[in-house]
């Protein structure tokens, strides 16, 4: 090989390092350049499906109009998946508001220091939220709506259930015709956890003694026709009419019933457990000021009225009156109604959810 060829084919070490460094700077910097956002852009994470459309229409668009800003709606993931992103990115998941976290993730977020502390100073409307619910959560989140775990039934196929026992022991109430028409949920979904707690309570147990729940799960298994994880995955089973009995979040249940599916929603005689929907700000959020404005806006009376009536959920604050009667009858809007629902035992759920999920998998697998 001649010297000239050598010069053409080889790079000296400095040149190599120079080129490699330039390539690295360009490739590492590119996402920041391309993904650059102005201060007037806010990224909000919540749910997809029908929630997405209603949330954008009733919360995001009015916020954009009022503040003259652009909101990017990241409508992906469940609550635990959203928190997994926050954890994996050490608090900088790419969204400024985690608008759909459930209590177990909020508690974990506070323990791991990945969610910002929020006070009346950042979110003035915080003081109007349900006090008792607020006290169950660490001060890193703001309650914006409530739901509860109702019992959904196919009106064309079965009589109105009255008890959680009608779901857990369907053969006793409905006979063998119900075989294959009961749906069960993976405890990765809080809905399943609540339903299992009801099962435990039916047998004299509870969150601290789940043995009766496992016995009922085993006896229910032959009657289960569908097993899903998320509430959205259950929706096609309702549309096809194949599922006749299901625990279901009250908001989604109300929404689907309003769309004409032949289902009814029941509050079983043993009662229901409230699900607290709340919003938090990850510590690495880029636009925290606007994030707090957004959370505060979610609690504005006009926003609460529009959003809750569109999504059939209960408001996050108890000082609003003049709700339509039909809405008042089916939702939690007064202190008396709030006191009638059970709040979840979050310590027990947080400590045992993994073991419950594994036990559920062993039985259902």
């Amino acid at each position: 090989m001649t010297t000239e060829q050598t010069l053409n084919n080889e790079l000296d070490r400095r040149e190599f390092i120079r080129r490699a460094s330039a390539a690295a700077v360009v490739s590492l910097g590119a996402p920041y350049v391309w993904g650059q956002r102005t201060d007037e852009t806010l990224v909000v994470n919540s749910f997809g499906g029908e929630y997405q459309e209603l949330f954008e229409k009733n919360v995001i668009e009015p916020f954009e109009k009022k503040f003259g800003v652009k909101v990017i709606h990241d409508a992906t993931g469940t609550s635990s998946q959203d928190y997994a992103k926050i954890r994996a990115s050490k608090g900088a998941p790419g969204f400024d508001v985690a608008a759909a976290l459930s209590p177990p993730e909020v508690i974990l977020g506070a323990k791991e220091g990945l969610l910002e502390k929020i006070t009346d100073k950042e979110v003035p409307n915080l003081k109007f939220t349900w006090e008792k619910a607020r006290q169950t959560l660490p001060p890193v989140t703001v309650i914006h709506t409530l739901q509860f775990d109702s019992l959904l039934y196919n009106k064309d196929k079965v009589d109105r259930p009255a008890s959680w026992a009608d779901y857990w022991q369907p053969e006793k109430r409905y006979g063998t015709k119900v075989k294959g028409h009961v749906i069960n949920y993976n405890p990765a979904n809080l809905l399943s956890v609540y339903a299992l707690i009801h099962a435990a309570e039916l047998g004299g147990g509870g969150a601290s003694n789940m043995d009766p729940a496992w016995a009922l799960l085993k006896s229910q298994k032959p009657y289960v026709g569908a097993v899903v994880t998320t509430s959205a995955e259950a929706a096609p089973h309702f549309e096809s009419g194949e599922v006749w009995l299901s625990p279901y979040w009250s908001a989604r249940a109300g929404y689907y019933i309003s769309r004409g599916i032949p289902y009814g929603m029941v509050v079983p005689k043993e009662g229901v457990i409230a699900n607290i929907d709340s919003a938090s700000v990850p510590i690495g959020a880029k636009n925290k000021k606007l994030a707090y404005e957004f959370i505060n806006f979610m609690l504005e009376p006009a926003t609460q009225r529009a959003w809750c009536q569109a999504y059939f959920c209960s408001p996050g604050r108890g000082d609003l009156t003049d709700w339509p009667k039909a809405f008042m009858d089916s939702q939690i809007v007064t202190k008396q109604q709030f006191d009638s629902v059970k709040l979840p035992d979050l310590d027990a759920i947080g400590a045992n959810r993994k073991d419950w999920t594994l036990r559920w998998q062993e039985i259902m697998g």
Partner: protein
Amino acid sequence: MAGTSKRSRVPAHWLLIAVPAAVLLVFFVLPNALLLSASFLKSEAQQLTAAPTLENYRFLLTRPLYLEVFLRTFVIGLAVGAIDVALGYPLAYFLVRTRSRWKGLLIALSLAPLLASVVVRTYGWYIILNRFGIANDALLGLGMIDQRIAFMPSTGAIVIGLAHALLPYTVLTIMGSLNGINPNLESAAMSLGATRTRTFFNVVLPLSLPGIAGGFILVFSIAISAYATPAILGGPATQVAATAIYGFIMQLLDWSLGAALAVVLIVCSLTLLYAASRLGARRAVL
């Protein structure tokens, strides 16, 4: 120039190797090293601690649920590999040997499944296999069953979905092998009196074994690490390794167990692939 010539030189082609090597180091080796380290750490109340432990592995290797998950994963990998080789070989043979002017189109058609997203293809099977799907409607209509059958969620449904999705990989691999066989060898065998069938089994098939092994290994590897198809057709109650790892990390937020499960999957897969490649090498020598 005199100063430059004294500098140590780096061959230009090193740059070509350095870039992919750096990408692999940063995005594959490093994350896997972190995964490995997390698998030896204890999780308490869904939080990763700094306490070292072997408990995660003990837990996974002693619970029948996870032994079943591994067994199911590898049974699916073997079944999908075998089905795709059995279906892909005749197709590849036909595509290589046909003299049709539509040969190009036929090859494109056989590879068409790769053009659609695996999620779309899998939902196609969902529509066919669910209790109220086309398969049940057809069987009921023909009077072959009187009650709807739950074809899914099941291991069988996962095998069907993956076998369909991965078939093009075996076709491509076996076609490559068949294309490399000198046609004169077949002519020579037949000129010496061998029948077409005997020529196939004594000449073509042995010479195409590397393609079969390659196709099988490729499909097996993809099948045992597949997530979307098992998640859709298996559901949460019919878990395979990938869906269980996802469940631990994204749903239960228990990274230690998720990492340990991932490490066990990687080690088992590498061991099986190494054994298969050694077996292939021995066959080639023989």
